[in-house]
């Protein structure tokens, strides 16, 4: 099977965890594949494609025009077990959107890898091509924002 087809289910599941609905997840993966083919990179590996899908999803989530639709369409009950939490808080879509608004792009990416993809700091460092120390600093920033949001009662719902 061609590499892109081989990875499609894994990438759809990944996008689905983040976006909360299958239709948008498939659209994102489709756009990533189209881009890979256009660039002549049909042999991209799974970690690279994971990062590409993360980036696309974040672009979609940062667009306020999409947010209401995504929140309405999400199927949180189908997200599955949440194995990684931030201070015992499940990072659901609503909280994630609020955090993403308050951190830079690199921190937002680290947030996704940690709390939606359950990656360790070492894995995040490898995917983001930075040191573990940098990852720790990015996650500390995320943690700080989550704590502030929870403390002020702004965290809201949206978690599974």
């Amino acid at each position: 099977m061609d590499p892109l087809g081989r990875y499609a289910p894994a990438l759809c599941r990944k996008a689905y965890r983040l976006l909360g609905n299958a239709a948008d997840a498939e659209d994102v993966v489709q756009s990533v594949f189209a881009e890979q083919v256009q660039r002549g990179r049909a042999n991209a590996d799974l970690p690279y494609l994971f990062r590409a899908v993360t980036s696309r999803c974040l672009n979609l989530l940062r667009d306020r025009g999409n947010r209401q639709r995504l929140l309405q369409r999400q199927e949180p009950a189908l997200r599955g077990a949440t194995r990684t939490r931030c201070d015992d808080e499940v990072i659901g879509m609503d909280l994630m959107l609020k955090v993403v608004d308050r951190v830079d792009a690199a921190c937002a990416e680290a947030l996704i890898y940690r709390y939606f993809d359950d990656m360790t700091q070492d894995e995040i460092a490898e995917v983001q091509e930075v040191t573990r120390k940098t990852v720790a600093a990015r996650l500390a920033r995320v943690h700080e924002v989550v704590v502030a949001l929870v403390g002020t009662g702004e965290a809201g719902g949206g978690g599974p």
């Binding site: 892109l4 087809g5 499609a8 498939e26 993966v29 594949f33 660039r39 690199a106 719902g157």
Partner: protein
């Protein structure tokens, strides 16, 4: 705050990431790593449930309309593989056109056209501004460089987007390729967003500074000629001071 998790079970230790689980399901992990994963799955119900999920095929919902590709109905991702040769040919032709239309022969020219788009980002205009600091003065659109100059790259792209980037310099008579900045992560778009870090230019020959901005991570491919790797590469040529 959030509701209770969908599954009451918690990982017995450090959860196996979805990337690991997916690669395990695909048989891509090295033997030693696969053994570690197997051992963890045998002891952890939460991760075992996720591993089972990773082995499940992703079925396209009926609402997704797939254009017919031959007699058999194929997943949409296979259409890309099938159309690969045609698309690659078109991409090469487009890259060739961009190479001609964005020739670096015009010193200091901004090889950015209105309507230039980011790959995969609808309506994504992108512009490049090369800024030089010379003896305490900031010079925009500098066309010449001196050894002590410090250069920074400012990128303008649509707010709300997050893009990956890299900067490539070809300088000196040998036109050796180097990557003077470390793209530690993507940037949030906006007007004149400064890429982290600064660099200098040297040599007696014109230097070409290329910036790649893309919705996906930008791999480094020093063996390829400028413009071939990625149509979203924007190049500027600056000359040495006389």
């Amino acid at each position: 705050m959030s509701a209770a998790p969908a599954s009451p079970s918690r990982c017995t230790g450090e959860p196996l990431s979805w990337l690991i689980l997916e690669r395990h399901a695909l048989g891509e992990l090295p033997a030693s790593e696969a053994s570690r994963v197997q051992a963890h799955l045998a002891a952890c119900a939460a991760c075992a449930a996720c591993a089972a999920e990773a082995r499940r095929p992703w079925s396209l919902p009926a609402r997704v309309t797939l254009p017919a590709v031959g007699p058999a109905r194929r997943p949409w991702w296979r259409r890309y593989a099938a159309g690969w040769a045609t698309t690659a040919a078109l991409a090469c032709a487009a890259a060739g056109f961009l190479l001609v239309s964005r020739s670096p022969g015009r010193s200091g020219s901004r090889a950015v056209a209105p309507g230039d788009t980011l790959p995969g980002v609808k309506g994504g205009d992108v512009a490049l501004d090369l800024v030089c600091e010379r003896q305490g003065q900031i010079i925009h659109d500098a066309e010449t460089f001196a050894p002590d100059d410090r250069w920074k790259v400012l990128v303008t792209c649509p707010a709300s987007h997050v893009v990956f980037w890299d900067v490539e310099v070809r300088d000196g008579a040998a036109r050796a390729v180097r990557y003077p900045l470390a793209p530690v992560g993507p940037i949030s778009c906006g007007n004149h967003v400064a890429l982290p870090g600064a660099f200098s230019l040297s040599g007696n020959a014109p230097a070409q500074v290329c910036v790649s901005v893309a919705a996906d991570p930008v791999p480094r491919a020093p063996s390829q000629e400028p413009g071939v790797r990625d149509a979203r590469r924007i190049c500027v040529v600056v000359r040495p001071e006389r």
